[in-house]
């Protein structure tokens, strides 16, 4: 896949806790930590499910980078759609 194609494809991210919406929208990168260690989700990432470890989640969008802390969570990546269920 060319670099140009990578730029065009974006992730759709939904990051929520039961009573809070951290972020919902397009993003270029999502970073978090699981038992194995820190990981990044970029567009075209393989389908992926993981239990997240306590720490920071970073979401990089076209114009901004946001960061929030979680005590636990689950991340599910499917067809460029990233769902983060945090602080449950």
């Amino acid at each position: 896949m060319s670099h140009k194609d990578d730029d065009a494809v974006q992730l759709t991210v939904i990051a929520r806790s039961p009573f809070h919406i951290y972020y919902e929208g397009p993003a270029k990168r999502v970073s978090a930590t699981n038992k194995v260690g820190p990981f990044d989700i970029l567009p075209e990432h393989a389908d992926f499910f993981s239990v997240m470890s306590p720490g920071d989640v970073v979401i990089e969008t076209e114009s901004d980078t946001m960061q929030f802390s979680i005590s636990n969570g689950i991340i599910g990546v499917r067809d460029n759609e990233v769902m983060i269920f945090a602080n449950m």
Binding site: I14, R16, S17, P18, F19, H20, I21, N34, K35, V36, A46, D47, F48, F49, S50, V51, I74, G76, R78, M83, F85, N87, M88
Partner: protein, 286 residues
């Protein structure tokens, strides 16, 4: 007839009660709006989690429940979600009465959430095996101690208060395990089932499914607690609105009584003056 200054004093006290109930009424109405927002957010969260879970589920019938080896097959548990404090009208009383209709001491244990419900049970001499404070906080609801307490029962029935509208609150029951299982069986979503052949799972698919199921159970329980809080606040709002109305009516009737007493006092004084004038006139004539 009572003296005007006594009535005036009592009127002042009732005006204070009226002001206080007015404050409680507006606090309750703010709480209702706040909790309604939480309920909506929590439902949205559950739906999203459900969407992901339904794509990785294995066999819902053999999962979600039956995870505790020490299950008490012969006993069931009633979980009562009541208010943490009083001043919430008669809703907790109705809740206890609804539960008692199905309660059989020999087969059922009771776990109660909320001190108001615990007090009501104690007053009626009904034993409960555990008491928990209603676990509500601003950012999350930690129901894990309650989930742990009910994990060993084969049947968990929750009695809770449902918010229908600001004026109407109902008593509801759900079978927690069956309802989560039913939701799982109904999970005929448009999500394709995925397996560990086409998806990376860290840790294993089983462990992630376990975590999701516990989360959903927790969320289902949290939603019931939120729903109860909403109903309790609405009931509190109604009780306060009613108390405020009664206090206003009392103030009006006290004012009326005060003016009557005042008039009667001045009439009495006038009569006394007239009588003494009459006596003076009679004495002068003599």
């Amino acid at each position: 007839m009572r003296r005007a200054n006594v009535i005036q004093k009592e009127t002042e006290q009732i005006v204070t009660v009226e002001d206080l109930t007015g404050v409680f009424e507006s606090i309750a109405s703010t709480q209702v709006a706040k909790i309604k927002n939480k309920v909506e957010l929590s439902k949205g969260f559950f739906n999203l989690l459900w969407k992901r879970y339904s794509s990785i589920r294995i066999d819902p019938n053999s999962r979600i429940t039956n995870r505790d080896d020490n299950k008490k097959w012969d006993r069931k548990v009633f979980v009562i979600i009541s208010a943490e404090a009083g001043l919430s009208g008669d809703i907790d009383q109705r809740l206890i009465e609804a539960m008692l209709q199905n309660y059989d001491k020999s087969t059922t244990d009771i776990i109660v959430l909320g001190s108001h419900g615990a007090n009501q049970l104690s007053q009626r001499g009904i034993p409960f095996i555990r008491y928990f404070q209603v676990p509500v906080s601003e950012s999350y609801i930690d129901v894990s101690p309650v989930i742990q307490a009910i994990a060993s029962y084969s049947q968990v029935t929750i009695y809770y208060e449902e918010y229908v509208s600001l004026g109407v609150q109902d008593i509801k029951t759900i079978d927690l395990i069956s309802s989560v299982r039913a939701m799982s069986e109904e999970a005929d979503t448009d999500e394709d089932i995925i397996t560990d052949k086409d998806t990376i799972f860290e840790p294993s698919l089983e462990e992630i499914a376990d975590q999701m199921e516990m989360t959903m159970m927790t969320l289902a329980f949290s939603q019931v607690i939120l729903e109860s809080s909403l109903a309790q606040d609405a009931s509190r709002f109604n009780a306060m609105a009613m108390a405020k109305k009664r206090a206003s009516e009392m103030v009006t009737s006290y004012n009326l009584e005060y003016h009557r007493a005042k008039r009667s006092e001045s009439d009495r004084r006038l009569r006394e003056v007239m009588v003494s004038l009459k006596k003076k006139k009679q004495a002068a004539r003599r």
